[in-house]
Amino acid sequence: MTIAWASFTPISAFLGGCLIGLAALLLMVFQGRIMGVSGIIGGLFGTASPAERGWRLAFLLGAVAGPIIWQAVTKAPIIWQAVASGPQFYIAAFLVGLGTAIGSGCTSGHGICGLARLSPRSLIAVMAFMTSAVATVAIVNHI
């Protein structure tokens, strides 16, 4: 293991993280909801009431708009470098959806919100997905 000092950005990472935490906090104080993106998307379907769909859709639209506004204001393009293409990319998309539905959450719901609430379920979930994600990258990159 070596540290990639050239790409290490602790300050912007921490500040961005604080904003993510603030958003989670505001969603709880205003709407009483856990800010879990997989759950917010999943709740758009099925038997959800129009009011239930409404705030979810508004949140997701805000999340789409935020980075575009930020990019326009700062005039600094947001970097996007793909690591996967073709079948690997699309299989990943399906697995992310499938896994978060069965595991009841993702990086935001279990990670940011669950850990902050000291939820044992979320701690287990975070350890499980971190381990499998690290193992997957190790296999893809080094084997």
């Binding site: 790409s7 290490f8 950005t9 912007s12 990472a13 921490f14 500040l15 961005g16 993280g17 604080c18 904003l19 993510i20 935490g21 603030l22 958003a23 906090l25 709880m28 104080v29 205003f30 009483g32 909801r33 800010m35 998307i41 379907f45 409404g54 508004a58 949140f59 805000g62 789409v64 708009a65 935020g66 980075p67 930020w70 970097i79 990319f89 990943a92 998309a93 399906f94 697995l95 992310v96 959806g97 499938l98 896994g99 539905a101 009841s104 993702c106 935001s108 940011i112 850990l115 902050a116 609430r117 379920r121 979930a125 499980a128 997905f129 499998s132 690290v134 193992a135 990258v137 190790a138």
Partner: protein
């Protein structure tokens, strides 16, 4: 209407946070997950900042009887560590590692990289719906 506006603003704060944090770049996310290669620990600071702010604030929020714009707090009720929680999370981790994308950043980069992200989002939703069916069968 005000509920929708606050949800929209909160979503925008979330998306902006992801952008500033570097979470919208799959290569940076995989750089964090690649602990056996050239490791970029940055995203540990994203998690640290997010959990810190939310954990401190959460203690105060929970002293309220109800949220500002809703009748009750909707908190997860399940407490048991079961197989779906672990297996589902492992499956999610594999997908996350394969492409460096988890649901939040997928949504937040839908219009930044629509050509790649719209099909990804479509398949993610397909996976979510299949997962919901699996969960209904299990219970």
């Amino acid at each position: 209407m005000t509920r929708l506006i606050t949800a929209l603003i909160i979503g925008a704060i979330f998306g902006t946070g992801l952008a500033i944090a570097g979470m919208l770049n799959p290569s940076k996310v995989v750089g964090f997950l690649d602990i056996f290669g050239d490791w970029d620990p940055s995203l540990a600071f994203v998690m640290g900042g997010g959990v810190l702010v939310n954990a401190i604030g959460h203690r105060f929020v929970m002293k309220r009887k109800a949220p500002i714009q809703s009748a009750t707090f909707s908190m997860p009720t399940s407490t048991n560590i079961d197989k779906p929680l672990v297996i589902g999370s492992v499956i999610f981790g594999v997908g996350w590692g394969l492409a460096g994308l988890c649901p939040g950043p997928v949504v937040a980069s839908l219009l930044l990289n629509g050509q790649a992200m719209l099909p990804f989002f479509g398949l993610l939703i397909t996976g979510l719906l299949v997962g919901q069916i699996v969960m209904r069968r299990l219970t």
